[in-house]
């Protein structure tokens, strides 16, 4: 991987990795027996391993060819491998915690494996580990191809990719050790948060610098989505994680936001994490990989611009729908509810735009499981944004909130939309990056597709049933005016659905493992394609009406 770096770039890489190792040492010394000390050791090891890898080929030959004549794909390849590794880890943790709900003995009576500690390893593992790495990898790919320019840095893409993964490792190992800020999707503590700020600002500057180098006059819409994703996640992350550590030698910190403001900031963050991490970036994937795979231009470019600004501006205000019937002022709740309903318009515009792009190429959707991944993702995107708008309406929320319905909704989005579009994009990207004719096995892509669909449907239907039963049981009164069911009664009623949910998740996990195998075999075994022509469908681009 270092063959592409000049000796001064290798020096910079070594200085960076050495700096990280040094910071780790300081953390270990300051933290002593606190968890911060443990994390210091982890940072030291991480920095040390990277330093060692840089040194191992430090005196290798300099890159011979003109680097500006080719795209920089090495960090993308590593990013894909990391994304798939995190997918298997994160989804396995998901199946484990799901199984714990049905069979609590699976916590094995240890502190680190209790539900409360394992659950964030699942959410962070799939959202940041799988989703984040997939976003970094695909954004590096899309920005280069659509700008017709090489990434504006040699070391910085590695810094972003590896630095982000160091954050994930710190976050997830922290949960197992009992470290948490108790903020949904922002559980990692202050030192990990500070590190992520540095990494993320580098990511943004790298992206902007690459766009600035572009040879295409117009910035393709996928890049707008990726830029919104990077910029807004930076803002959200900084504001929500403003906190004061109890001391420099201690992992614990306290947020600067008091009471209900803290709740509002948290859900402004939390919902926009869904909007900009789990939606905007993945719409960037959709707007690039779907037209490329279908070999058809996007149905309406204008519509994609309108829905971009709609999504960007409406989502910002929707977060308070997480706090219906709380101490949050009523008008703020109403504001969130209104914007959530309005969001349906740009969301469906995007989903419709994707499906209309495929209109006229349905035979390809039928024959090509990769394209079908993306088609199904657009359908699930449409369904879950409709469901989300619906659930944000206050009276509906009174039934759905705190129940499994919410969990079902999240997974309709996360499995059906985010994971499916990612797999579709990766199945398009892997053969193209490694210059193979196609994936190792089209049948295995097909098997993965059906496992993913079956798993998602089983999961979502189980949680719909479970959530609505739960919600109804909690609000049923007897004639005397007391609650008809105890909490335990509702828990017993959940039991079959918890088993079904764990099974659905297991199917999804098996699909991801098969995907890993298929990608591995594609990289290892498939012959080099003479030309890239054989991979993509051969029909010339047709222009749908506009």
């Amino acid at each position: 991987m270092l063959a592409n770096l000049t000796s001064s770039e290798r020096q910079n890489a070594l200085i960076l990795a050495g700096g990280v190792t040094l910071v780790g040492a300081v953390m270990a010394i300051m933290g002593r027996s606190d968890v911060l000390g443990v994390h210091g050791v982890i940072v030291m090891l991480f920095g040390g391993v990277v330093s060692w890898m840089v040194m191992a080929s430090f005196y290798g030959p300099e890159p011979a060819e003109d680097r500006a004549a080719s795209y920089y794909d090495d960090p993308i390849k590593v990013g894909i491998a990391l994304a798939m590794a995190w997918a298997v880890f994160g989804m396995f943790m998901g199946v484990w915690v799901a199984a714990q709900l049905a069979w609590p003995d699976l916590a094995f009576d240890a502190a680190w494996s209790s539900f409360g500690r394992l659950r964030p390893t699942h959410t962070s593992g799939v959202i940041f580990g799988f989703g984040g790495n997939a976003l970094i990898a695909t954004s590096f790919h899309v920005v280069q191809r659509t700008s017709r320019a090489r990434l504006a840095g040699q070391v910085s893409p590695w810094f972003v990719l590896l630095g982000f993964n160091l954050f994930c490792v710190l976050a997830i190992s922290g949960y197992l050790l009992g470290v948490t800020q108790s903020k949904e999707y922002a559980e990692a503590e202050w030192y990990a948060d500070l590190w992520l700020v540095i990494v993320w600002v580098t990511y943004f500057m790298l992206y902007i610098a690459t766009i600035a180098r572009r040879k295409e006059p117009h910035i393709y819409v996928a890049n707008w989505y990726f830029m919104a994703f990077i910029l807004v996640v930076a803002i959200l992350h900084i504001v929500n994680n403003l906190a004061i550590p109890v001391s420099w030698g201690h992992a614990k910190s306290y947020t600067i936001w008091p009471g209900v403001q803290d709740a509002m900031v948290q859900w402004w963050y939390g919902h926009n994490a869904v909007a900009f991490f789990l939606t905007a970036g993945f719409l960037g994937m959709l707007y690039y990989y779907l037209p490329v795979r279908a070999q058809r231009p996007i149905f309406s470019y204008r519509l994609s611009i309108l829905s971009f600004w709609g999504i960007t501006f409406f989502y910002m205000w929707a977060g308070s729908h997480h706090l219906h019937y709380t101490a949050l002022p009523h008008w703020v709740q109403t504001l969130g509810m209104t914007f959530s309903v309005m969001l349906l318009v740009p969301s469906w515009a995007s989903a419709g735009n994707a499906l209309l792009t495929l209109n006229g190429a349905w035979h390809r959707v039928r024959d090509d499981a990769t394209l079908r991944f993306m088609m199904a993702a657009a359908v699930f995107y449409g369904l879950s944004t409709f469901e989300g708008s619906f659930m944000a309406i206050r009276p509906v929320n009174s039934l759905s909130h705190y129940t499994d319905w919410t969990v079902g909704h999240v997974h309709a989005g996360a499995l059906g939309w985010v994971a499916l579009i990612t797999f579709g994009s990766l199945y398009t990207l892997v053969p193209s990056l490694w210059k193979r004719e196609g994936m190792y096995s089209a049948t295995l892509v097909e098997v993965h597709f059906w496992l993913a669909i079956a798993g998602t449907l089983i999961y979502v239907f189980a949680m719909w049933n479970s959530g609505i039963i739960q919600g109804l049981m909690w609000r049923t009164y007897t004639e005397e005016g007391s609650l008809a069911y105890s909490f335990l009664d509702s828990l017993v009623a959940m039991y079959p659905y918890y088993i079904a949910r764990a099974f659905g998740g297991l199917l999804f996990l098996i699909g991801a493992v098969i995907g890993c195998y298929n990608m591995w075999m594609t990289v290892r075994a498939a012959p080099l394609a003479a030309t890239r022509a054989a991979d993509a469908p051969v029909l010339p681009a047709a222009v749908p009406g506009e």
Binding site: S70, R145, P217, Y220, R532
Partner: protein, 57 residues
């Protein structure tokens, strides 16, 4: 600098609304401006081109 609740609500209900509508109009004008049509058409077709190397000027 002490704002009352009523002041803030009045501000957001008027200017908050106007800036959103104004922004919406700007986006519409940009998207539908006739001269941009060629640029958008080019953008949506150019990602389908096959060459996989950066352009050198």
């Amino acid at each position: 600098m002490d704002f009352s609740y009523e002041t803030l609500v009045a501000f957001s209900k008027s200017w908050g609304l106007f800036y959103m509508m104004g922004f919406f109009l700007c986006v519409c004008v940009y998207a539908f401006w006739p001269r941009n049509r060629k640029r958008f058409d080019r953008a949506k077709h150019s990602i389908l081109e096959r060459d996989d190397t950066p352009w050198q000027k």
